[in-house]
Symmetry: C2
Subunit: 475 residues, 2 copies
């Protein structure tokens, strides 16, 4: 029996929930059972796996209320919780369609040598571990899980210990689909459970911070395991003088402060062409001041509490550092307000910021909007690329051509043109992370399924002629 | 100035060559120059890169004689050296064709949301380091290099310090093509030069042993670099009772002892159905005894010297261990013969072997052919899969259907059907390594080029309508 871990409630600061990580033996046994189940899961083929996932979709629909209720307590916000739960259904449908399209039966084809044919095959990794974060606890626990299941893998998910309450209602829905329950399970636990999974699984998917991602990568290398990392960002937006500023400010406000900025793809730096800088800032400030905290009720406003207490410290430190170095705080209090035990950060527009400030160089993961002017597009691009991150970004300009010219030079995997953070709603493009923002294959599109499979080729000699003897072989 | 490293000649054991690794400063400056050159290399596009590689092909053809001469001294064998040098031309042509087919201009397409279009893009990693081994020094230094160049990367290659003599004549051919010389260079050096490259490059390709591959993976994780590893194998062959034994023995002899067994994809374990075991062994012994050492002249026989003196020790240890545990040695002396300072291992058929012996569990990288009977196909498959490796394998059976049934269950990336080691001559299939035999994308086929590029997606809002406000967004 391991020790229980107390869990904080982000709306009141109370430790009102306990999670019970499995012992090392229990976890090893569980993985063994999943490996056993995987044999049959692979054998039933893609049609069988789609049927099981569609059945699961129904059981999830029936339990939406209890899942949303748990997520609300986990995260302290409601609209995003409803969205997370509702998206399971469309996500399952989308992945099932992609899988149907991208996993066709492979047939034999001739090679460059006339008497040798090739046949390609795909073989799933047996057991995938998914280690997922607290900012969208349900959504991000499934983003790698569903494609891995469709590939034919068994999946063991360890959500963040900060937001574990949704696990039980979700596990109830899984247990109602026996085929699925033998290859999909969630476990409670913190870092040490995650570290054990790196040893026990065949492939590891991690979503979270750069600091933890580095540790996961190093542990994976120690055990010679492949790993997919989706880490932090410091996503830039570039707004040129020709952009529609009303549209740009609305879009960037949403992209910066949705989920109280606790999103890897949220905009964290805004660069505006100097000639329209003042106008942009005044419009952004005016719109920002229309927002409200979701307090005292979930529906009182748009901005929920900061979910993790460690994140409260980080946001406060970024604000303190920025103020000390001369930044102007144009909205909000300039710190995370503690209200009834919860931490609330009002969306904060900052100007007079520099690249010496943490708010411009480190991931904040809060609703801050530092805005900096640039002079000429080369300057804007250079500033946007002046970062160790490379997840995504946004460009606003008067024409798509002007925006694309800039976007092509931004070092990031997904660039939204004339909108922010579109990867939050469009899951079709394939993208890789640049620099420290991630490692390994895309988690969107057909490749996202195939990355859970090893390619295998059969090289078939079609004629019973003698083998090439030494170097008389045809080349 | 770093210290020079003496290099052993495999035919006479003399240290008759010295290499001079660059200092840390020189290497860093070189990488910086390559990064500078990469900007233009990427800008000239795929047609420009193909033109430069085709020009290089001509300069290589003009220098084949000096390249082969150096390779002969590096490796002590001639036929394989000629083959390696000749294959550059067909390899360049093959990759240029694949690149033309797989890197088409990307066009815009609609997404699931009507007013958002997608455009995919591919962006090369700037600087790739290729760390290559001594068994096919030229061929394996180019297997990742050519696709990386076509992708638009600059490439710095560090061949093994055991076989560096070919570098100078090859560099001469590169320097004759200025566009190429600014993005492709070879450096001399041993492990510490390789370790520096892991820090300096953006992506690392390593071909070599599992032990060193693990270290490279761990160093890459330390510096948060992506890595492709192509490591060792202990490739099994399964021969059923229905197989054509004349054909199987000829093919397996070639697959086991070509290049004196110093090939990652050589057959290192042969499992034969018990009813035909004796017949198989006697045919294999008879054919083996027709082989000769390539001594005193390169053309005196088919079997060259063992290239690395450390490998001589490993082969001797595997033979000693096998004999001690009861194996029968049916051909050869049972040890590596030292002749005029070179180490020569006669192709060795072993029977009465068990999975407790190193010769059945660790990579030998020598011309040994341990043959073990199996009873029933389940037993054969289980024995073939009883290994930490999973590179490739071979199946011989009376029909392709029977062979494929077995091949599908062998855990390995490339399975030859009714022949051995066909990946040595067919480079079209896409394959991944299983277990400890490697990590990362396929080095064959279109994906081999794309793994050197990051996918990037532009999400383009096509109508200037207001941004989705909070969760009224279309999902």
């Amino acid at each position: 029996m391991t020790e229980s871990i107390p869990v904080r409630n982000p709306r009141n600061g109370q430790y009102d929930y306990y999670l019970f990580p499995p012992t090392a033996k229990e976890l090893a046994d569980l993985c063994q059972r999943m490996r056993q189940g995987q044999l049959q899961w692979q054998a039933i083929g893609i049609e069988g796996r789609i049927a099981a996932l569609q059945q699961w979709k129904q059981t999830v629909q029936n339990a939406l209320g209890s899942i949303v209720e748990a997520l609300c307590v986990d995260t302290g916000r409601k609209a995003e919780s409803i969205l997370e739960a509702q998206l399971i259904a469309s996500s399952i449908d989308r992945w099932c369609k992609i899988a149907t399209d991208c996993l066709p039966p492979q047939s034999e084809k001739p090679s460059s040598v006339s008497f040798i044919h090739l046949r390609q095959d795909l073989e799933p990794y047996e057991l995938v571990a998914v280690i997922s974060p607290w900012n969208f606890p349900l959504l991000l626990s499934l983003i790698d899980t569903i494609p891995a299941l469709l590939a034919g893998c068994a999946v063991i998910v360890k959500p963040s210990e900060i937001t574990p309450r949704f696990i039980k209602p979700l596990m109830n829905t899984i247990s109602q689909v026996p085929e699925l329950a033998s290859v999909l399970t969630y476990v409670e636990g913190a870092g040490s459970t995650g570290a054990q999974l790196v040893e026990l699984a065949d492939l590891i998917c991690f979503t979270g911070s750069v600091a933890t991602g580095l540790k996961v990568y190093q542990a994976a290398a120690q055990h010679f395991k492949p790993v997919f990392l989706e880490l932090g960002g410091k996503d830039p937006a570039i707004v040129t003088a020709s952009a529609n500023l009303d549209h740009a400010t609305s879009s960037l406000l949403w992209g910066s402060v949705v989920n109280a900025g606790q999103s890897c793809l949220s905009i964290e730096r805004i660069y505006v062409e100097d000639s329209v800088f003042d106008q942009f800032v005044s419009m952004l400030v005016e719109k920002t001041n229309q927002l409200r905290f979701a307090y005292p009720d979930y529906d009182s406003g748009q901005i929920g509490p900061i979910i993790s207490d460690k994140q409260i410290d980080i946001i406060n430190e970024h604000l303190r550092d920025a103020k000390e170095k001369g930044a102007n705080i144009l909205t909000g209090k300039g710190y995370v307000e503690m209200i009834d035990g919860g931490g609330w950060c009002f969306p904060t527009v900052l100007t007079n910021v520099t690249h010496e400030m943490k708010v411009m160089t480190e991931e904040t993961f809060g609703p801050l909007m530092p805005v900096m002017p640039f002079h000429g597009i080369e300057d804007g691009i250079a500033k946007a690329n002046s970062t160790i991150y490379g997840l995504s970004g946004a460009v606003f300009a008067g024409t798509v051509e002007e925006a694309l010219f800039i976007a092509k030079r931004i070092k990031g995997g997904a660039i939204s043109i004339n909108d922010s953070a579109l990867t939050a709603i469009i899951h079709e493009g394939e993208k890789n992370s640049f620099k420290m923002s991630g490692m390994g294959g895309t988690r969107m599109g057909p490749s996202a399924i195939k990355r859970f499979m090893r390619q295998k080729v059969y090289l078939i000699k079609t004629q019973p002629i003698a083998s090439p003897w030494w170097f008389d072989a045809p080349h």
